[in-house]
């Protein structure tokens, strides 16, 4: 598997994604400069976290016009795998690779561990997880309140596009376990083709016991299983 990690101006989880793929998964990775026009043969594209263009205007709004994004969108259209993490999720929504929008949190920036429930295992980022599995991973964002119209939310639920939901330690999506006010506790979604997945928590920060959680591993292992299948 070869993973392309896009480096936008202001990306700051690009190195973390790199370590997750290269050090912890033992796979190939390549950094893709935002001005580039070539994905260098990557099977999987990661849009990493950070503050692309300072998140000025709206998170992800400016980055989605980067030259590399044209290639990423074409890759997605071909059915190629794209994973958006945090700022990458915001960019993917702005680029209409994913439905909905990520608005400022209802109560400000939040940095803390959260628990999410895996709602779907039929995506390339969750295929190795089990349905209903609880994963604890850090979040660190100010604009992660997933929002869409009520009709759109119903459609997403109906089509099985809600991939992760914020839950409490017993697996229930309660208001208290929702760190940003996201509609229906949604922490991550996929597109209709199920090849693009976005989520607010940071699985790349939950890859080793030394740092407190290994729950992100299963998501990266899913990529490997999907690509090698």
């Amino acid at each position: 598997m070869k993973v392309g990690i896009v480096r936008f101006p202001g990306s700051n989880c690009d190195d973390d994604a790199w370590h997750a793929v290269v050090d912890h998964l033992g796979q190939d990775a390549v950094m893709l400069w935002h001005k580039a026009h070539d994905l260098e043969g990557a099977d999987v594209i990661i849009l990493p976290g950070g503050f692309s263009y300072g998140d000025y205007l709206r998170a992800g709004a400016i980055a989605r016009f980067s030259p590399i994004m044209r290639e990423v969108m074409a890759h997605a259209k071909r059915g190629g795998i794209v994973i958006g993490i945090c700022n990458g999720f915001q960019i993917a929504c702005e680029a209409h690779l994913l439905p909905g929008a990520l608005l400022p949190n209802d109560a400000g920036y939040r940095s803390m561990p959260v628990t999410v429930r895996v709602e779907r295992t039929d995506t390339p980022f969750t295929s190795a997880a089990s349905a209903g599995q609880l994963l604890t991973m850090p979040i660190a964002h100010g604009e992660g309140r997933f929002t869409a119209s009520a009709d759109e939310l119903d459609r997403l639920e109906g089509d099985g596009q809600v991939v992760f939901r914020y839950v409490d330690s017993t697996g229930n999506p309660t208001p208290a376990s929702n760190p940003n006010g996201a509609s229906r506790n949604i922490a991550g979604v996929c597109n209709g083709g199920r090849n693009v997945v976005g989520l607010m928590p940071h699985p790349e920060r939950a890859m080793e016991p030394l740092l407190g959680s290994t729950d992100g591993l299963v998501l990266f292992e899913s990529l490997l299983a999907t690509v090698n299948a």
């Binding site: 101006p9 700051n12 973390d16 300072g54 400022p104 940095s111 740092l211």
Partner: protein
């Protein structure tokens, strides 16, 4: 050549000189240095460089007495940041800096630009910033203005560091009415580098181009350095246009570009354009290298048309650097900056002639002989005298303070102390800070007595913590200065790291007041003694005077930023009890000391009594014992006793990890002879609570180093609560109540904060 006025320059009058904050004596000194009357531009430059902030004119002689050397110190004071060796060819660069005055006027931008400045100090050394810390002091949260300051400052620190992508991993916060109107905002940055990447800010090489790099220069923050050197008063309000706005996005690009630049080998030296902007960065770089320089202000990229040399030299626009490139490599510099959508312009040159010269095109607007601008700065040793009122406060006997009725139940007192904003958990603050980005944070805020970071590709780790109990310093500056260092060292040792070096931020009032200068002199001396005793030299720091408001000076606050190194980061321990049925061992011993305690402040509203004694030999032995026991893998958790004493520390061990709390049964009958308040809440130094599966080994380790240690109890399931026996009335407290007091109080106190609007739209 000689400098001549430009058309339109105001005439140099005594009033104008006074407005520039120069005394008559200083003006005469300047004229003597020049051998003629200054131009307006020269007056501005001297005023900025001789400001307290840039020149350290009231502090330098005392700072020179601090210990600065050790085999592991690669760079001591005098550079943008200090650097120590870690082993494996790696080094850590670190520095702390204040942004008190800007934050008092504009909390959000003031704090944000403080973070930006200290980041640049570290990455100009060739180090990649890996962690931020912050040390904050505020007035009482009962005041709406204070809540507004807290909200804005915390958001400013968070937004900036979060955007650049540097985890904020530790800090300390204290509340006291003395900080009303003059909050302290000290930001510390820690960076990692390979020893051979160490870069200094020393201009060298005749003919080498000098370049302005990064953001354009605007009219913001002109005379910020002298602003930082004044008392805060209502007049400060009128100085609001001086406020600088931070641009963390540009900072992130500048950070990446600078590290690439250093790796390219194209540059000789780099310095941040911080306080007093281009003037001070260029003059200081020239002085360090003992070379001449010439700068042409028309070549500096500006944001607004019509800026004068005076404005260009003194602007404090953020996110800019001054670079000395190797001759012929300026294109490389431009290319690297362009890759990051930033610009670089050649604005001057290193010259053989021993002068500091500024031109506007062909017109020389300022010229100083040699490096005198920096080296000829006046130095003062003001009168020092202790305040009799403070001495009287220190002399009060805390034991004569009558108990309030509720205190008959020690659980009430404990709960009341845990909810004191100074003691209470700071989650409300650090939940706004990304503490896990860069995936190196082994122990973030709230998880240990200090933060722990792993170093990729090495077994070693870095520990860092800021500390200063300024109430101690107020009541006894020498002792308080010692304790600030000792406490920081102890905190770092509690996570298993050997304390290695400090950076300090000396926040004091107006040094021209004898009682303030006395505090300063004594506190610095105390710090120096502790640094020598603990083998933690000072590698740099910052002095912030004039922290006053209409009602007087703030508590003297010599904040310590301590760096420790772990040989094996996997061995680090946290502060929370890890499981039930572990033994609880107290290293060190309670005393009858109660003075200067948080107990007196919180329960009785008193700042009085003598602070606890600091025995530096004992501190050192305690640290060694702790490191032995942790290094041998015999310690499951460690937490020192600080504000609130033994009872508060025990409670914190029980509840710090809210998701996995543990009870404790403790017996203190061995010390039944001590006054109960002192035993539970007194703040005797050199004490650490350890939980362990091998109490005998921990006690033995302590003995080996000549320190007492006692097996005082056992951890228990959370449901059993905290139970302390062996005192007149046993203390029994359910953990839920303690946890609520500790974890929720700050959020509750901040709840009525007026929504901090700025930044919402981003």
């Amino acid at each position: 050549m000689t400098a001549t006025p430009r058309p339109g320059d105001p005439a140099i009058t005594p009033a104008l000189v006074a407005e520039h904050g120069l005394t008559d004596e200083e003006y005469r000194r300047m004229v003597a240095m020049l051998g003629r009357d200054p131009t307006f531009t020269e007056l501005g430059v001297v005023s900025a460089l001789w400001s307290e902030h840039c020149s350290y004119k009231h502090s330098l002689p005392l700072l020179r007495a601090l210990p600065t050397k050790a085999p592991w110190v690669l760079q001591g004071p005098g550079e943008n940041a200090g650097v120590i060796a870690v082993g494996d060819g790696l080094a850590v660069a670190f520095k702390i800096e204040s942004h008190n005055h800007p934050s008092a006027v504009e909390p959000y931008q003031g704090a944000a630009t403080g973070v930006g400045g200290i980041l640049r100090d570290v990455f100009t050394m060739g180090a990649r910033p890996v962690a931020m810390l912050n040390s904050l002091r505020f007035g009482s949260l009962d005041s709406a203005r204070v809540r507004y300051l807290v909200a804005g400052i915390v958001k400013g620190i968070g937004d900036y560091g979060n955007c650049v992508g540097i985890p904020t991993v530790a800090g300390d916060v204290m509340f006291d009415p003395s900080y009303e109107g003059n909050p302290l905002v000290n930001a510390m940055c820690v960076g990692l580098l390979r020893e051979e990447e160490l870069t200094r800010a020393k201009a060298e090489g005749v003919g080498n181009p000098i370049m302005a790099v990064g953001a354009r220069t605007g009219r913001d923050g002109i005379h910020g350095a002298s602003f930082a050197s004044e008392d805060l008063s209502h007049e400060s309000d009128a100085k609001r246009p001086r406020v600088q706005v931070g641009d963390p996005f540009t900072e992130k690009l500048l950070l990446e570009a600078t590290l690439e630049l250093i790796a390219s080998g194209a540059v000789v030296a780099i310095q941040d354009m911080g306080a007093a902007g281009l003037a001070s960065s260029s003059a200081e770089m020239a002085a360090r290298g003992d070379v001449g320089v010439v700068i042409d202000t028309t070549k500096v990229p500006v944001r607004e048309p019509g800026m004068t040399p005076y404005e260009i030299l003194l602007s404090e626009s953020q996110e800019r650097m001054l670079v000395v490139a190797h001759r012929g490599r300026d294109d490389t510099v431009r290319e690297i900056l362009a890759k990051w959508d930033l610009q670089a312009a050649v604005i001057g040159e290193v010259i053989a002639e021993p002068v500091y010269r500024v031109t506007e095109g062909d017109h020389v607007v300022a010229e100083f002989p040699g490096t005198k601008l920096v080296t000829d700065c006046p130095v003062y040793t003001p009168e020092a005298r202790e305040s009799a009122a403070v001495a009287a406060l220190r002399g009060q006997d805390a034991h004569t303070v009558p108990e309030v009725a509720e205190e008959s139940d020690p659980a009430w007192t404990l709960e009341h102390l845990l909810s004191s904003p100074t003691i209470a958990g700071k989650h409300w603050i650090y939940r706004q800070y990304d503490s896990t980005v860069r995936t190196n944070t082994v122990r973030g805020p709230g998880a240990g007595d200090a933060a722990v970071l792993r170093i990729r590709g090495s077994r070693r780790g870095i520990a860092a913590k800021t500390d200063c109990n300024s109430r101690y310093v107020y009541l006894d500056p020498r002792n308080g200065g010692q304790i600030a260092v000792a406490e920081a060292a102890r905190n770092v040792a509690c996570v298993g790291a050997r304390p290695r070096a400090i950076t300090n931020c000396l926040n004091f009032g107006n040094p021209k007041k004898p009682e303030v200068y006395w505090q300063f002199r004594e506190a610095v001396a105390g710090m120096g003694e502790a640094c020598a005793a603990l083998d933690t030299p000072v590698t740099g720091g910052n002095v912030s005077f004039y922290n006053e408001n209409p009602s007087g000076a703030v508590f003297p606050t010599p904040t310590v930023g301590m760096i420790g190194i772990l040989d094996d980061v996997e061995r680090s321990v946290g502060m929370a009890f890890a499981a039930a049925d572990h033994s609880i061992v107290l290293i060190g011993e309670p005393t009858d000391e109660l003075g200067a305690s948080e107990y007196l402040a919180r329960i009785h509203g008193l700042t009085a009594g003598a602070p606890p004694r600091c025995d530096l030999a004992k501190e050192r032995a305690t640290i060694e014992a702790l490191l032995d026991a942790i290094g041998a893998g015999r310690v499951q958790s460690a937490h020192d006793c600080s504000e609130g004493g033994l009872a508060v520390a025990l409670a914190e061990c029980c509840i710090a990890n809210r998701h996995a709390m543990h009870g404790a049964r403790v017996d203190l009958s061995r010390w039944a002879g001590l006054p109960q308040r002192a035993l539970l809440f007194g703040e005797a130094q050199a004490r650490v609570i350890v939980s362990t599966t091998h109490p005998g080994d921990v006690v033995a380790a302590a003995r080996r180093h000549g320190v007492s240690a006692f097996h005082i109890g056992t951890t228990a399931p959370a449901g059993e609560g905290l139970f302390i026996a062996g005192i007149a009335k046993p203390l029994a407290a359910p953990l839920a109540r303690l946890a609520d007091a500790y974890h929720e109080s700050l959020a509750r106190a901040m709840a009525p904060a007026a929504t901090q609007e700025q930044g919402i739209s981003s």
